[in-house]
């Protein structure tokens, strides 16, 4: 069964303290891996799409990387406004749906 697992479930960091969020996946025929940011009561906001192992993408303080079994979302020198839930999702070969993980709740303390 296709599965996406995110860790940790929750993470508290001091402002400026860099860290990484993990997304591991077990799927057949990965067509794309997506990272979204979700603020409370809002819909997910698209951040990145990664298609193949070794690919990296950056946006401001965020950098996403992809291997054959997992993806990392690195956050460098985070600010309080980076506090949100970060969702990882995968698109598999045979379906038009995407499968989401449960997310990592990130809280940046000032």
């Amino acid at each position: 069964e296709d599965q996406v697992t995110q860790s940790p479930e929750a993470l508290r960091l001091q402002e400026g303290e860099s860290s990484s969020l993990n997304c591991s996946y077990t799927v057949s025929g990965l067509r794309g891996l997506f990272w979204y940011r979700q603020d409370p009561g809002k819909g997910p906001e698209f951040l990145f799409t990664l298609y193949s192992a070794g690919e990296e993408k950056e946006k401001e303080r965020l950098k996403a990387t992809l291997t054959k079994k997992e993806s990392f979302l690195h956050i460098t020198a985070p600010k309080p406004e980076d506090s949100a839930t970060y969702l990882c999702a995968v698109k598999v070969d045979r379906d038009d749906k995407i499968i989401f993980g449960k997310g990592t709740r990130l809280h940046i303390l000032p």
Partner: protein, 115 residues
């Protein structure tokens, strides 16, 4: 530019009732998908529609149905509501059917509470 708009934003219904949720995609987007997000979980796929035809269905009971109109807007209908249907219902639109070529843009969702 208007993003994906969903209505209503909040809704309270009684068990056994029926509900209709509405979604207007971004102008020019022909694909609409519906997701259910229970508190503390990631979104779960319900349906995808492209060019007014159902192109995908998730593991949800037949009480859930949807349709897409000629202007590409969409409705999600849920019959015989259960307490467990309480969730944030998200609509997402994209230009094309094949997700890996295009991004998904989500609306802010409809918060459904069943009492």
């Amino acid at each position: 530019d208007a993003g994906v708009t969903q209505s209503p934003t909040h809704l309270i219904k009684t068990r056994g009732q029926h509900v209709t949720l509405r979604c207007s995609p971004i102008s020019g987007h022909k694909s609409v998908s519906w997701y259910q997000q229970v508190l503390g979980q990631g979104p779960q796929f319900i349906f995808q529609y492209y060019e007014k035809e159902e192109r995908g269905r998730g593991n949800f009971p037949d009480r859930f149905s949807a349709r897409q109109f000629p202007n590409y807007s969409s409705e999600l209908n849920v019959n015989a509501l259960l307490l467990g249907d309480s969730a944030l219902y998200l609509c997402a639109s994209s230009i094309g059917q094949r997700l890996y070529n295009y991004g998904y843009t989500f609306g802010s969702g409809t918060r459904l509470t069943v009492v």
